[in-house]
C-alpha cells in the first residue's frame, strides 16, 4: 500500500477543485488533486457548449476549453494529479491534525494520502426519475440529462429518435438543443413549476430557437412503453383531467442537482438539510470537521461554473491560512 504526504488534498478536479488546487499550489503548499474520471475537468468535459468563463476568464468558452485553462493553471502552479482514483474514506483527524485519505485506483491499487487540509470539491449529482417516482413503466430510454450528454458528447451515441425533456434545468435545456442538433427532434420540455429552472438565455437559444414548446405548471403523469419508451402523458396542475399524450422514445430528466456528500457525511461532516451541502463558517468554508473545507457544487449548487471556481479560490485561501501558509 502506497503512502504519500501533501499539505493539501483536493477531492474533485472540476471547476472548483482545479481552481482551489491552483491557488494552494501557487502559494507553495504541496497539493494533490484527486478525481475519479480518466481525465481532469469533471463534468466540464462533456459540457461542449459555449457559455463558460465570461466572469472568470472574461471570454466565452466551451466546457472543455474552460477545463483546459483551469488544468493548465493548476499544473503550472505545481499541483499533482491523481486521476482514475476514488476517495473511499477520509479518516478522523490524527494527533498532528492531519487526515488520511484512502484512494482506490486501477493504476496504484490502494493508496493512503496524508494531508494537513482537505478541500471537498466533488460537485453534485442529478436527481432522477426514481427520486420523483414518476408513475409508469421502467422501460429503456429514460436517462438523466447528464448521462445522455455524456453518451452524446463523449461517446457520440444517439440516445433515441425523438425526445421529451422532463424539467427545465440548464442541462436539460442545453440537451434539447444538442438533441435537435443531433437529428433527434425534441417534442416538449415539461416543468412542474410555474417558472423555468434554467437560465433565460437557455430558454431562448435552446428551446425558442427550435420552436420546442415549454409546458409550465405541468406534471408528467405517466411514462408508457413495453421495452422502450413509447409515450409520455402530461397534465396541467390546475386541470389534471386535461391530459395529453406525447409520443417519443426518449425521456431526459433535468429535475435538479444534489450536492454529492456521501464521503463528507462518512467523515462526520454535518450537512445543511436545505442545501444538502456541508455546514460551513461564512467566508471560511471550513466544515464542522476541522481541516476539511468545501467549495463549489458540493457546498451548494451554483448557477455557473465561474462562480464555483471563484468560491473555490476563496476556500483555498482559507485552507492555506488554516495550515499557516497565508
Amino acid at each position: 500500500m502506497k503512502r504519500n504526504e501533501y499539505d493539501v488534498a483536493v477531492i474533485g478536479a472540476g471547476a472548483a477543485g482545479l481552481a482551489a488546487a491552483a491557488v494552494t499550489a501557487k502559494a507553495g503548499a504541496s497539493t494533490v488533486v484527486i478525481d475519479r474520471d480518466v481525465r481532469p475537468g469533471g463534468v466540464l468535459n462533456q459540457c461542449i457548449h459555449n457559455g463558460f468563463g465570461l466572469h472568470y476568464f472574461k471570454e466565452e468558452l466551451t466546457g472543455p476549453e474552460y477545463a483546459a485553462r483551469m488544468i493548465r493553471k493548476a499544473t503550472e502552479a505545481g499541483a499533482i494529479f491523481r486521476i482514475g482514483s476514488s476517495v473511499m474514506e477520509i479518516s478522523p483527524a490524527q494527533a498532528d491534525g492531519r487526515r488520511a485519505l484512502t484512494l482506490y485506483s486501477k493504476e496504484s491499487g490502494v493508496e493512503i494520502i496524508l494531508a494537513k487540509a482537505v478541500i471537498l470539491a466533488m460537485g453534485c449529482r442529478e436527481r432522477t426519475r426514481g427520486n420523483l417516482a414518476t408513475p409508469g413503466s421502467r422501460c429503456a430510454g429514460i436517462y438523466t440529462a447528464g448521462l445522455a450528454q455524456r453518451m452524446l458528447n463523449v461517446e457520440g451515441k444517439l440516445p433515441g429518435t425523438s425526445a421529451v425533456i422532463v424539467g427545465s434545468g440548464d442541462i436539460g435545456l442545453i440537451m434539447a438543443r444538442r438533441l435537435t442538433w443531433s437529428g433527434i427532434p425534441v417534442k416538449a420540455a415539461v416543468e412542474i413549476q410555474p417558472k423555468p429552472a434554467g437560465l433565460a438565455r437557455n430558454i431562448a437559444q435552446c428551446l425558442e430557437d427550435f420552436g420546442i414548446p415549454l409546458y409550465l405548471s405541468t406534471a408528467v403523469t405517466k411514462i408508457s412503453g413495453k421495452d422502450r419508451v413509447e409515450s409520455v402523458t402530461i397534465a396541467p396542475l390546475d386541470d389534471p383531467t386535461a391530459e395529453r399524450v406525447i409520443e417519443c422514445d426518449t425521456i431526459l430528466y433535468s429535475v435538479g442537482l444534489i450536492p454529492e456528500n456521501e464521503l463528507s457525511r462518512k467523515a462526520g461532516v454535518v450537512l445543511d438539510p436545505k442545501t444538502n451541502g456541508p455546514v460551513v463558517e461564512e467566508g471560511v468554508y471550513e466544515t464542522t470537521e476541522k481541516g476539511i473545507f468545501a467549495c463549489g457544487n458540493v457546498l451548494h449548487v451554483h448557477g455557473l461554473a465561474d462562480q464555483a471556481s471563484e468560491e473555490a479560490e476563496r476556500c483555498a485561501e482559507s485552507a492555506l491560512r488554516s495550515i499557516g501558509m497565508r
Binding site: 500500500m1 475519479r36 482514475g84 476514488s86 473511499m88 474514506e89 484512502t102 482506490y104 485506483s105 486501477k106 493504476e107 496504484s108 491499487g109 490502494v110 493512503i112 449529482r125 442529478e126 432522477t128 426519475r129 426514481g130 427520486n131 420523483l132 417516482a133 408513475p135 409508469g136 413503466s137 421502467r138 422501460c139 429503456a140 430510454g141 438523466t144 447528464g146 448521462l147 455524456r150 453518451m151 452524446l152 463523449v154 461517446e155 457520440g156 451515441k157 444517439l158 440516445p159 433515441g160 429518435t161 435537435t180 442538433w181 443531433s182 437529428g183 427532434p185 427550435f210 403523469t221 405517466k222 408508457s224 413495453k226 421495452d227 422502450r228 456521501e262 457525511r265
Partner: protein, 487 residues
C-alpha cells in the same frame, strides 16, 4: 436430448435446477426472458417469511414456506447470496388488530415455528425502536428475514450451471409435442429442445405453458404490487421486517430493511388484466407512504430513489399447485406460486425432484459437486483486503458504481457469468441500484459489457428484446440542407 426441461428460471425453476444439478441427470433450464429472475422473482419484497401466515396442515404453501424458511440459512452460507435473518414483527395498533395478531401467533405455534413470540408493547419497542407511537403489541418471528431475491436466483442458476445444467436464455416455448416418450419443444425464434420430462415453472404464464403441453386448464391472475425504495441513508431503516396486520387479500404494506442495506416500502395488491403491466401508479405510491409512515418513523418520500412493481401469479383458491399433471404425460406443474413462493422455493425445488422420481425418472446423487467460488464484494472488504486482490487483478480497485461501491472486477464477474444486459448486471452486482440510479455508472458498465462480450454498445439492452439504449452514432447523422430533418 435432456432428461428434464424446466420452463421458467425464476425462484421456483432455479431451485429445481439447483437440486437436479445434484443428480446424475441432464437438465436444461429455459426462460423466455434475457436472464434468470426477470419475471416475478425480480420484483418482490425479498422476504423470507416466518412460517406463521398460513397453516402448515391446511395449505401446501404454508408447509413449503416453513420448510423453505428452515433451508435458507444453510443455502445462503453455501451460495453466498445476501441474506439477513433479522426477524419479522407484526405490529398491532388497535385491540382488534391485537386479536388478529394473537391468531397469527397461535397459528405459528400450531405450525411449530421455533422462537415465535407474542409480544407486549414494551417488547415491541425493544425489538424495533423505530416503530411509531401507539403500538399495542405484536408477534415476533426471529427466523424470518430478508434476501436479495435476484441474487438468490442468480446464485442458484450459476451453481446449477457449474454442475452441468444448461441455461437457455430467450427461449420462449411456443409449441410442444410428445412423441416416443419425448417432449419436443420449439421457441418463438425457432430453436428446438427435447426432454423426457418437463417442469412448468413459468410463473405468470404457467397457464399458457400448461395449455401448450395439453396440461390442466387454469387461469393465472396477475396481482400487482408496487414497491418504493429509499436511500440507504434513510433514517427509517428498521432492525426487523415490519408487517402490519394482514387483510384477507394480502399481508399488507411492509417496511423492509432490504438485504442490500436500503429501506423498501410496499407492496400493494391489485389484480391487473395485463400480465406485462408493471407500471407504478400515483395512487399506490400515496397509499404506500401513508401506511408505512403510520408504522415506522422516518419514512419519507424525500429519500425515494426508485419505484417498481411486480406481479404475483395467483391461482384461484390462492394455494400453490405442485403436482404431476393428470392430463399431460411426463409433465409436472409448479403453478400459482405467489407469496410465499420465494421463501418456499428451496423446498419447492426439492419437492419437484421427488415428483420427477415419482413420475418415473431414475436418478442417483452425483458424487462430485463443484465447489462454490468465493463471492467477494468490495463494499464488504477492508482496504488491506482490497489491496491484496489488486495485486492479482487491478480491476478490484477501479470503482465503477460509486453509490453502491462496486468494482470493475465485480462487473466483469457478472458479465462472465453470462449477464449481458444492464438490468442483469445491476441485479447481479447492485451497480446502478443506488442513489444516482445509474446516472454515473451506466456509461462505464456499457463499455465493460461491450469490451467483455464484443457486443457493440448500440446493441446492448436494458433487459433484452427491444429495450436497446442507443440508436446509432452521431458520425452518421446528416441533415437535409438547412433543415433539422435528417437524410
Amino acid at each position: 436430448m435432456y432428461d428434464v426441461c424446466i420452463i421458467g428460471a425464476g425462484a421456483t425453476g432455479a431451485a429445481a435446477a439447483y437440486w437436479l444439478a445434484r443428480k446424475n441427470v441432464q437438465v436444461v433450464l429455459a426462460d423466455k426472458e434475457a436472464d434468470a429472475s426477470f419475471g416475478v422473482s425480480k420484483a418482490n419484497s425479498g422476504i423470507v417469511h416466518g412460517g406463521f401466515h398460513y397453516s402448515v396442515s391446511k395449505t401446501l404453501k404454508g408447509k413449503l414456506e416453513l420448510e423453505g424458511n428452515r433451508m435458507f440459512p444453510a443455502m445462503a452460507k453455501e451460495l453466498g447470496f445476501p441474506y439477513n435473518q433479522c426477524g419479522i414483527i407484526v405490529v398491532a395498533y388497535s385491540e382488534d388488530q391485537l386479536e388478529e395478531v394473537r391468531k397469527l401467533y397461535n397459528q405459528g405455534i400450531e405450525n411449530g415455528v421455533e422462537g415465535i413470540e407474542f409480544c407486549s408493547k414494551e417488547r415491541m419497542y425493544e425489538l424495533e425502536p423505530k416503530l411509531c407511537e401507539g403500538c399495542l403489541g405484536g408477534v415476533f418471528a426471529p427466523q424470518g428475514g430478508v434476501v436479495e431475491p435476484y441474487a438468490y436466483v442468480f446464485s442458484l442458476v450459476e451453481d446449477a450451471e457449474r454442475n452441468g445444467v444448461v441455461f437457455e436464455r430467450n427461449f420462449e416455448v411456443v409449441s410442444a409435442e410428445y412423441q416416443d416418450n419425448v417432449w419436443k419443444m420449439k421457441s418463438a425464434s425457432g430453436k428446438e429442445l427435447s426432454a423426457k420430462y418437463v417442469i412448468n415453472a413459468a410463473g405468470l404464464y404457467s397457464d399458457k405453458v400448461s395449455a401448450i403441453f395439453g396440461g390442466e386448464e387454469f387461469e393465472i391472475l396477475a396481482r400487482k404490487g408496487e414497491e418504493y425504495l429509499l436511500d440507504r441513508l434513510s433514517p427509517a431503516y428498521p432492525t426487523r421486517v415490519v408487517f402490519p396486520v394482514p387483510t384477507h387479500t394480502s399481508k399488507g404494506v411492509l417496511v423492509i430493511p432490504t438485504a442490500g442495506g436500503t429501506t423498501m416500502v410496499g407492496p400493494t395488491a391489485h389484480i391487473v388484466p395485463d400480465k406485462d403491466d408493471t407500471d407504478t401508479t400515483a395512487p399506490d405510491r400515496e397509499e404506500i407512504f401513508e401506511l408505512a409512515q403510520y408504522m415506522v418513523k422516518g419514512v419519507s418520500k424525500r429519500d425515494l430513489i426508485a419505484a417498481f412493481a411486480g406481479l404475483r401469479p395467483a391461482l384461484a383458491g390462492g394455494d400453490f399447485m405442485i403436482k404431476i399433471s393428470d392430463k399431460a404425460p411426463a409433465f409436472i406443474q409448479a403453478s400459482g406460486i405467489q407469496s410465499p413462493g420465494l421463501t418456499a422455493s428451496p423446498a419447492v425445488g426439492k419437492l419437484l425432484v421427488s415428483l420427477l422420481e415419482k413420475a418415473g425418472l431414475k436418478m442417483d446423487d452425483k458424487k462430485d459437486i463443484a465447489p462454490v467460488p468465493p463471492k467477494r464484494r468490495l463494499r464488504e472488504m477492508s482496504a488491506e483486503e482490497v489491496d491484496e486482490l489488486y495485486q492479482k487483478d487491478p480491476a478490484w480497485t477501479n470503482i465503477i458504481c460509486r453509490c453502491e461501491k462496486i468494482s470493475e472486477a465485480e462487473i466483469v464477474d457478472a458479465v462472465r457469468h453470462g449477464h449481458v444486459t444492464l438490468d442483469a448486471v445491476k441485479l447481479h452486482t447492485r451497480a446502478g441500484m443506488g442513489r444516482c440510479q445509474g446516472g454515473f455508472c451506466s456509461a462505464k458498465i456499457w463499455a465493460i459489457i461491450s469490451r467483455e462480450t464484443g457486443i457493440p454498445v448500440e446493441e446492448l439492452t436494458k433487459r433484452g428484446k427491444k429495450s436497446n439504449f442507443f440508436n446509432g452514432s452521431i458520425a452518421d447523422v446528416a441533415f437535409k440542407g438547412d433543415s433539422y430533418e435528417t437524410k
